[in-house]
């Protein structure tokens, strides 16, 4: 199973990778920013599944650019948008530690975000997993989503 994991947080990436290695027999390609993720998506490689973080820097962090451009709160959504524009159809799961910010009505809940993604990017968008470093539930939900993708592909 070929998986593209676009995630900038080292710890989170490691834990997701460990989970994938323990449960599947995947080949995992890692990318760490919106831009490097996009480049990988348009490469002619074939992926069975894309795992996408929501907030990431716009570019990879390098010696010259210690911040990787600027942080993009909704980089994951932008990548889904780019996939739609470029007619790329990999099944995609968003894995986020989504932290709502803002006050009052500006505050956006994870539910609202899920609804928006589902409305705009189905069928490539398969679901969202809420990741927490201190809980294990995300593993079960991620497993359900990946299994469902595998089942769909086998059908």
């Amino acid at each position: 199973m070929n998986i593209l994991l676009i995630e900038d947080d080292d710890e989170k990436r490691k834990k997701i990778t460990d989970f994938l290695l323990n449960n599947y027999n995947p080949t995992i390609m890692h990318k760490k920013s919106f831009h490097s993720g996009l480049k990988e998506l348009v490469s002619f490689k074939s992926y069975d599944c894309v795992l996408l973080d929501m907030s990431m820097p716009s570019f990879d962090i390098t010696v010259n650019d210690s911040e990787g451009g600027s942080p993009e709160s909704f980089a994951g959504r932008k990548l889904l948008e780019q996939m739609k524009f470029r007619f790329i159809n990999y099944p995609t799961i968003v894995i986020t530690q989504f932290d709502s910010f803002g006050e009052y009505k500006e505050k956006r809940s994870l539910e609202e975000l899920k609804n928006e993604l589902s409305e705009k990017y189905s069928p490539i968008y398969k679901g969202t997993v809420y990741y927490s470093a201190s809980e294990n539930d995300w593993q079960n939900i991620l497993k359900e989503h990946i299994n469902s993708i595998i089942k769909e592909q086998n059908d």
Partner: protein
């Protein structure tokens, strides 16, 4: 509790009994009424009976018994508002009623309102006459008449918010801002209701002349931001802009209910205005609509307000032509216009409009006639009518003022939203803006009481037919009327009609274009447009061109339509407002999704870009994609590839390509492209594009040079400084400033204008408090001045319009600084700190030593620690269970501490200490434990404002002072956070370790590996926590690192692409300059270099020598460059004497400001104003080269006292 007799079942039984024999009907109905009245009389809660009567009766029953029920003794004595709608005191407007209930369906609420109004027929019967007279006098600036009419209306029909709004507007126009504000203040200080006060406050801002529509909308949105009672929010929104109608029926009903507690005039005006909108919406008639129509007909019979005519026609009731509609003079104007008798049109229109300025149907023929004859509007130029006409003319002729005219008209329609003219302005605007498909474009016709060529189009076919029939019977020969019939005729008859009636060529063109478009004969429409490509008649051209573009769209020729729109835009950029941009974009998007193919024409990125910036449409990301798609589909990867290819092949750069390079090839758009490597790459690519654009599009050289300068400087800062250190608190100040210039400039301008017109009085009591706080001896302080003033909230501090506006500016600036989605502090906190980072950081030392496990979310408990179970396999199971239990507790407590930190403490709050809603109730602060506190107390705001008043109020300085205030607040927050982390959170973590270590003491077996792991982890935690505390700091002093003066010169060198061999730089003993001076130093060298190139006549090969030395706090800059001139040195020096003489004078500085601040006087401004340098000397002139007297050199000798600015 006594059971109410008048229940739903009873009503049903009444209804069923009423279905019995017809002969008994009258008797039965009488019995029904008697029973209702008897229930009211016998009930202890007559209002509940009234409620059930309203809720459960059929509309016919409501209509029939309303008056009797309402006037029954018990209801009458219930102190209901319905009986007291005419109030003689403002204080009695908007008093809560005891008959309050949730709204019922819209039709029922409309019926109830109409019945209530019908009971006031005797009052209302001539109100419309006074109202029309008032509107006319206001449009003609007859303010004495307006005020006297308002007084009369107040006396006769009672006080109303409608009247107050008019009075504010009249006072603003008649006597100016002061008078208007003074009146608003008297009302504010009176015992008027809170709701009325809020509305008057907003009306008063809306009446101000210097504020724009967008700005007013922002103010009101901001005002209602925290308003969580939607019904009330929708009501207020409607009251401040009667063109705003809620989307949902429920909220329209709420408006009607709220209005029933105000006044008769407000209720009547709101009813008619809402009805005008409702009948133009997709109004779905119900079975009981006929009852409502009967009531409206009755109202019209008693109150012959002309607005009822079109409302009834829209309700499918034919109302015969009114006398006004049959006015022959008006019809003649239309006939004359069609027959090109433009002078007559002008003369007659002016005669009529000077008496009846609200006959808006005449505006277009009048203005077009003026345009065709190249005449001027000769109506009184001081009037509101004139103002509207001029703006409409600017729209029709698509000139440089068009967009401003549209914005101004939007503002006027809000200001005068309680008058009919606002509906008509709205229709004019919406019919003009081709993308706007709102039903509201029809609303203006409702209040059009005279003939209008298009009014009948809003009626149903049946009514339209009768209307046209009656017109043509009355005036069989009028060509304008016959047009209404012949427009549906076959082509041949229509053409012969146009010929026979001597319709002018111009009208023929317009009418045929419309005719063919309606008949879907698009090729003819195209032909007409092509025939008129070169016409100088802009109005005609715009009309046929728009028809042509729309016809291309109708034929699915969206690419051609797109090209046509972009071509039209490039011919006249002011046509943007009338081009169907959104229509085309929508069709293109639909087509891409169908065909999986994007358009490769250059027009596509331009169209999407224009749509994004001018229509606020959600097309930004598609513009980004189209930027790249255009390049790639033409075998380029980057803009510079395209430029090189064009240059190599000697292709000229057309206007579209230049636009694409200038506006679209910018880092913000390019950064999504696959062919841009990183942020720096995007910036460098843009700089290269700008360098090329200087020669490709030389007329904009200055703008491109400025952009290069800004970008080079930012790159230098990014490269040289470590300001964005990982995990440091950061706010993108450049981004914030961009946002400020968009969001804050209007507020700033308004504040300056208010300060200018009002002499601002400081509150001496407040000043005393501020002084006390500032002067507490430092040894007695355990808090800073900022902390002290932020904790002091003093009630009853006086505030006026200026204070309120300043508060708004500070709050808006704060919100952008803190919450902006792209640049604000919270986005950094969210992505860099809260977003899992802290959790990972503070869990890592524990995970490393295997003393923490994960929580099983489903079971809501922590997992077993397999590591220690395995290691301690030889322990008793009870001991293992104990260890597992202690480790689980430890894990939970540790995660809870982190959770509290991220979810509650490291959050942002902007709430005030005392935060109340409109009713004065305290609102619970959502983020009450948040440590990033950005609230301002009232005294703190005063203190900030007073300090601002002591400083330069120039926009740039003002913004920089605001940013300083916000950074100061951030520093206070960071200090507090470091303290909380150190003294509260860290001890909590340590306690958790202690507890675990103590808990494990009870096990007497050897578990030293675990104990060691805990100890090790504890030590590592100490370091991790220190690191965490260090995240909460920001760079001191400035955002830019201190720098060498050579860096400033290098930036300028890059701007001018100066080769090393033409530039000699000698720097001696110069210390580093403080980061904050970089921008100014770059500006100074930019001016010197620019001057050298401009006047040397040796272009960019000009050899320049720069010598800089530092002696006794003085930075001495001596710059020379060779020049080529046939004049003598004396002559040359003589030619610049005046510049030398004027250097630093007020006159020259003002000129500098006006001319975009270039030249040596800008150096003076930079040094004295921006850098506040007390002492400098500038000398310049022409000299002979010391080695070769044949060479003339220009020198600049600048000596700056940089004490305090060097490191």
């Amino acid at each position: 509790m006594k059971k109410l007799k008048f229940g739903q079942n009873n009503l049903k039984s009444w209804k069923s009994s009423s279905m019995k024999k017809k002969s008994q009907q009258l008797k039965t109905e009488d019995r029904l009424l008697k029973r209702i009245l008897s229930d009211i009389n016998s009930s202890s809660n007559p209002l509940k009976v009234l409620y059930l009567f309203k809720k459960n009766s059929s509309l016919a029953e409501l209509s029939k018994y309303f008056n009797e029920v309402i006037s029954s003794k018990k209801i009458f004595s219930s102190n209901l508002r319905i009986h007291k709608l005419v109030q003689t005191e403002e204080a009695n407007i908007h008093i809560e009623d005891s008959f309050i209930h949730k709204p019922m369906d819209l039709l029922r609420e409309l019926v109830w309102t109409a019945l209530t109004l019908n009971s006031y027929n005797s009052y209302l019967k001539d109100f419309y006459l006074k109202r029309d007279a008032l509107e006319n006098s206001l449009l003609l600036n007859d303010f004495e008449i307006s005020l006297s009419l308002l007084d009369e209306i107040d006396r006769k029909y009672g006080k109303s918010l409608w009247s107050i709004k008019n009075r504010l507007n009249i006072l603003q126009r008649k006597e100016g801002l002061d008078a208007q504000k003074a009146y608003a203040k008297t009302l504010k200080d009176s015992s008027i209701s809170t709701s009325s006060k809020i509305l008057i406050y907003l009306f008063s801002i809306g009446a101000e002349e210097n504020i724009s529509y967008d700005y007013y909308e922002r103010i009101t949105n901001k005002f209602f931001e925290r308003f969580n009672i939607r019904s009330l929010f929708e009501y207020y929104k409607y009251k401040i802009n009667a063109e705003y109608i809620p989307d949902e029926d429920l909220y329209i009903s709420h408006i009607l209910i709220h209005e029933r507690t105000s006044s008769l005039v407000d209720m009547y005006e709101t009813f008619l205005n809402l009805l005008s909108h409702i009948v133009c919406m997709n109004f779905k008639p119900t079975n009981e609509l006929d009852v409502f129509i009967r009531i409206v007909r009755k109202m019209y019979k008693n109150v012959p307000d002309p607005r009822f005519v079109n409302i009834l026609r829209m309700l499918d009731v034919y109302v015969p032509l009114t006398e006004l509609e049959k006015n022959e003079t008006i019809l003649n104007i239309f006939d004359n216009f069609e027959q090109a008798n433009y002078l007559e049109v002008i003369q007659e229109s002016e005669r009529i409009l000077s008496k009846n300025p609200n006959y808006t149907s005449l505006y277009q023929p009048y203005l077009e006639s003026i345009y065709i004859l190249n005449e001027q509007i000769s109506l009184d130029s001081n009037t509101l009518l004139y103002e509207i006409l001029v703006k409409y003319q600017d729209m029709l002729t698509t000139n440089d003022n068009t967009q401003n005219a549209i914005n101004d008209l939007f503002k006027l329609l809000v200001t005068y939203s309680n008058l009919s003219i606002s509906n008509q302005i709205l229709s004019i605007l919406l019919n003009y803006l081709i993308d706007e498909k709102s039903y509201k474009s029809k609303v203006g016709y409702i209040s059009t009481s005279i003939f209008n060529l298009f009014k009948h189009n809003i009626y149903s076919e049946n009514i339209k037919e009768k209307y046209i029939q009656e017109y043509t019977t009355v005036y069989s020969s009028a060509p304008s009327l016959q047009l209404l019939i012949n427009f549906n005729a076959k082509e041949e008859s229509f053409l012969s009609f146009l010929e026979n009636k001597h319709i002018s060529e111009r009208s023929k063109t317009t009418l045929l274009s419309l005719y063919y478009f309606t008949k879907k004969e698009y090729e003819h429409t195209a032909k007409i447009a092509l025939n008129n490509v070169y016409t100088s008649d802009v109005i005609l051209k715009n009309t046929v061109q728009t028809m042509f573009i729309l016809s291309l769209l109708r034929q699915n020729k969206h690419i051609e339509a797109m090209k046509e729109v972009i071509n039209t835009y490039f011919i006249n950029k002011n046509t943007m407002a009338i081009l169907p941009v959104i229509d085309i974009v929508d069709v293109i998007i639909e087509n891409i999704e169908k065909t999986f193919k994007w358009p490769s024409e250059i027009d596509a990125p331009i169209l999407f870009y224009l749509c994004t910036i001018s229509r606020n449409h959600d097309t930004e990301s598609r513009t980004e994609y189209l930027y790249e798609y255009y390049l790639v589909s033409h075998d380029y990867k980057r803009p510079t590839d395209l430029i090189s290819d064009y240059i190599n092949n000697q292709n000229g750069f057309d206007e579209k390509t230049i636009f694409y390079l200038d506006k679209i090839c910018i880092p913000e758009i390019m950064k999504t492209s696959l062919y841009i490597d990183d942020y720096i790459d995007a910036e460098k690519e843009r700089i290269k594009v700008c360098h090329h654009l200087i020669s490709i599009d030389n007329k904009n050289e200055k703008r491109y040079l400025q952009e290069i300068k800004d970008r080079e400087q930012n790159l230098f800062i990014k490269n040289e400084s470590s300001r964005i250190e990982k995990n440091k608190i950061y706010v993108d100040i450049e981004g914030i400033k961009k946002s400020y210039s968009k969001e804050l400039k209007n507020d700033y301008d308004r504040l300056m204008s208010l300060i200018e017109t009002n002499s601002y009085q400081r509150d001496s009591e407040v000043e005393k408090i501020i002084d006390v706080l500032k002067n507490i001896p430092s040894e007695e302080k355990n808090v800073t001045y900022e902390e002290a003033i932020n904790s002091l909230y003093i009630s009853n501090i006086s505030s006026n319009e200026i204070d309120d506006l300043f508060q708004k500016i500070i709050e808006l600036s704060r919100d952008i600084f803190v919450k902006n989605e792209h640049y604000g502090l919270d986005v950094y906190l969210s992505t860099k700190i809260r977003h899992g980072t802290i959790s990972n950081h503070l869990r890592k030392p524990l995970e490393k030593e295997n003393i923490i496990t994960l929580k099983n979310s489903k079971l809501n408990e922590y997992e077993e620690n397999a590591y220690w179970s395995k290691l301690f396999y030889n322990l008793e199971s009870s001991e293992i269970t104990l260890i597992q239990s202690k480790l689980k507790n430890f894990s939970k407590r540790h995660d809870d501490i982190i959770k509290n930190l991220t979810n509650n403490l490291l959050q942002v709050t902007t709430s005030d200490h005392i935060n109340t809603n409109m009713d004065g109730k305290i609102i619970e602060n959502e983020n009450k434990e948040a440590l990033f506190k950005y609230n301002f107390t009232n005294i703190e705001l005063k203190s900030i404002f007073y300090s601002f008043l002591d400083k330069d109020l120039d926009y740039d300085v003002f913004i920089s002072n605001i940013l300083q205030v916000l950074w100061d607040k951030t520093d206070v927050n960071l200090k507090n956070i470091r303290n909380v982390l150190d003294t509260i959170i860290y001890p909590q973590i340590l306690k958790n370790f202690n507890d675990l270590q103590n808990d494990l003491q009870v096990i007497d077996k050897d578990i030293s590996p675990l104990k060691n792991a805990i100890a090790q982890s504890r030590t590592e935690m100490n370091q991790s926590f220190k690191n965490l505390i260090a995240w909460f700091a920001r760079m001191e002093d400035s955002e830019i690192n201190d720098y060498e003066i050579k860096s400033a010169i290098d930036i300028v060198k890059n701007i001018f692409r100066k080769q090393e061999n033409n530039l000699k730089i000698n720097i001696d003993n110069m210390p580093y300059l403080k980061g904050k001076t970089l921008d100014s130093m770059v500006d100074i060298f930019f001016i010197i270099f620019d001057n050298a190139f401009k006047y040397s006549r040796l272009n960019d090969k000009t050899p320049i020598t720069i010598n800089i030395e530092y002696v006794d706090s003085m930075m001495n800059i001596y710059v020379t460059n060779e020049i080529q001139s046939s004049s003598s040195i004396d002559e040359l020096n003589g030619s610049i004497d005046i510049i030398r003489l004027n250097y630093g004078t007020t006159e020259a500085t003002l000129k500098t400001n006006k001319e975009g601040r270039s030249g040596f006087n800008k150096i003076w401004k930079i040094l004295t104003k921006d850098l506040q340098i007390p002492e400098h000397l500038l000398n310049f002139g022409y000299v002979q080269n010391s080695n070769n007297p044949d060479i003339i050199e220009f020198y600049v000798d600048l000596k700056i006292n940089v004490k305090g600015l060097v490191v």
